[in-house]
Amino acid sequence: MTAKEVQDRVVKILTPYVKDEKALATAGPSTNILEDLKVNSARLVDVVLAFEDEFDIEIADEDVETVNTIGDCVTLIQQKVA
């Protein structure tokens, strides 16, 4: 799975939680999920569960702490899928 394919699926999962929809339109690997997209931090838990379902992977709590940007999500998911 290419980074672009993973990123598209990550953005799709994030979409309902995004409060700044304009930022979503220009989202890329460096887009910060909390600061740029204004996702409620409590909902990151739900986003991670959705990643697990979408990619059939398990994400540990320690892994979640490394995730700040869309690019971080893509890197983590690619590691887990591999």
Partner: protein
């Protein structure tokens, strides 16, 4: 400081109609919201009938963003839809997403009897038992905390005054209106959204079924299964939904030229103390009568001024005692007893939401000059028979209808009563 309090907005999610317009039509037609529930048959309950609002998810999809819906269980959806309708009915607009302003003068008292039982039963317990609690995600707490419904509504409407959830079993909805009235009278708020919500769940109904307080003899005729004041009443039919009333200081309502639907003239709450015949599950008649009289005294009205009663009247053995208590408290015997009706004959007993939905109904009846049919008591209970002329078996036009009392009496021996007056 004591200020006059009026009702400027109504919202409702009811088993016989969602939204105030549909609900009023249903009341006028005596439309039933009772239906056979396969979940109750499957669970082996003795009662197979309940009253559940229809089409709510479609309304919620239209009203709320996906992010909001992901966090809203059924009680949140019921309460938020009713509150949004009430707010708009009062002439206010819903704050835009991204609007950071807070309305510090408006709050909410939105109660529930049982709380987020659907979430507890369908998500929390199964996932914890399966050692998969991580899969609960972030939304379980806000859905099972009792105050989840009022918290949700405050987020939708940017309410900045007191926002809380009350709980006093089947008196909850009426008590919420009393609490909001006191806060506005005291000058601590200009507007309070008051009411309650209760969800449909076999996990709520199971305990009542086990207590043998649910109707079980009319499973094959669901619309006849809720029989308040009837000789053949054999228990209540569980219901659910939400009712919300926007209470507002008269000063605020007049200043903004709001349409006033009714005035809250008097309110009272008390408890029978589980003495004098009262217990956890039955009311002390003295407590009931004192509550009715306290609401009248609060309204500074003579009992003769009461034109109609929207009773608690659930279709259990408590109905004859309740009618006797009204008669004694008002000092009015069968010859001059007010018209009395039970909204539960149409929509069952919505528990913590009952007093809220039925208060909405009471305001609509006052405005419209009618008292809706109290169905399924053609065979009036022998102890209520002397009052039979006061019971409308068909919806009755009452042109001079001016003052109505609404009461709720709940487990725990708790009571709440309102005196509502038509606005003119």
């Amino acid at each position: 400081m004591s200020r006059r309090v009026v009702i400027t907005g109504l919202g409702v999610i009811s088993p016989n109609g969602n939204g105030v317009a549909e609900f009023e039509l249903a009341l006028r037609k005596g439309k039933s919201g009772l239906a056979l529930q396969p979940s109750m048959v499957e669970a082996g309950f003795n009662c197979h009938v309940a009253a559940v609002p229809q089409g709510v998810d479609a309304l919620a999809q239209a009203a709320f963003r996906e992010e909001e819906l992901l966090a809203m269980n059924t009680s949140h959806r019921y309460a938020a839809l009713a509150a949004l309708e009430a707010w708009q009915d009062a002439g206010f607009t819903r704050p835009e997403a991204g609007d950071d302003r807070v309305d510090w003068d408006s709050g909410a008292v939105l109660g529930t009897g049982i709380g987020g039982m659907d979430t507890i039963a369908e998500r929390v317990v199964p996932l914890v038992n399966a050692k998969r609690s991580k899969r609960l995600g972030s939304t379980a707490v806000e859905q099972v905390m009792a105050s989840g419904i009022s918290a949700r509504v405050s987020g939708v409407l940017a309410l900045g005054n007191q926002v809380t959830t009350n709980s006093s079993a089947c008196a909850t909805g009426v008590e919420a209106v009393a609490e909001g009235t006191w806060r506005i009278r005291a000058g601590r708020a200009e507007r309070m959204l008051c009411g309650g919500a209760e969800v449909p769940s076999p996990y709520i109904w199971a305990g009542f079924d086990a207590m043998r307080v649910l109707s079980r003899k009319f499973n094959d005729q669901p619309e006849k299964a809720s029989r308040p004041m009837s000789a053949s009443a054999g228990g209540f039919i569980p219901g659910c939904g939400s009712g919300v009333l926007v209470l507002e200081s008269l000063d605020s309502a007049l200043a903004r030229g709001a349409r006033i639907r009714a005035e809250v003239l008097g309110v009272a709450t008390n408890c029978g103390g589980h003495r004098g015949g009262g217990s956890m599950t039955s009311p002390n008649p003295t407590g009931v009568q004192r509550c009715i009289q306290a609401a009248l005294a609060d309204a500074a009205l003579e009992p003769a001024r009461i034109d109609a009663i929207s009773g608690h009247l659930t279709a259990t053995g408590a109905d004859p005692k309740e009618v006797a208590s009204w008669s004694r408290a008002l000092g009015r015997g069968p010859a001059d007893f007010p018209v009395i009706t039970s909204t539960k004959s149409l929509i069952g007993h919505a528990l913590g939401a009952a007093g809220a939905i039925e208060s909405v109904a009471a305001v609509l009846m006052l405005e419209g000059g009618f008292v809706h049919a109290s169905r399924n008591c053609e065979d009036v209970h022998p102890e209520i028979e002397p009052f039979a002329a006061s019971i409308p078996h068909e919806t009755r036009a009452v042109p001079g209808l001016s003052v109505m009392m609404k009461a709720g009496f709940g487990f725990g021996d708790v009571n709440a009563a309102l005196v509502l007056r038509k606005w003119q």
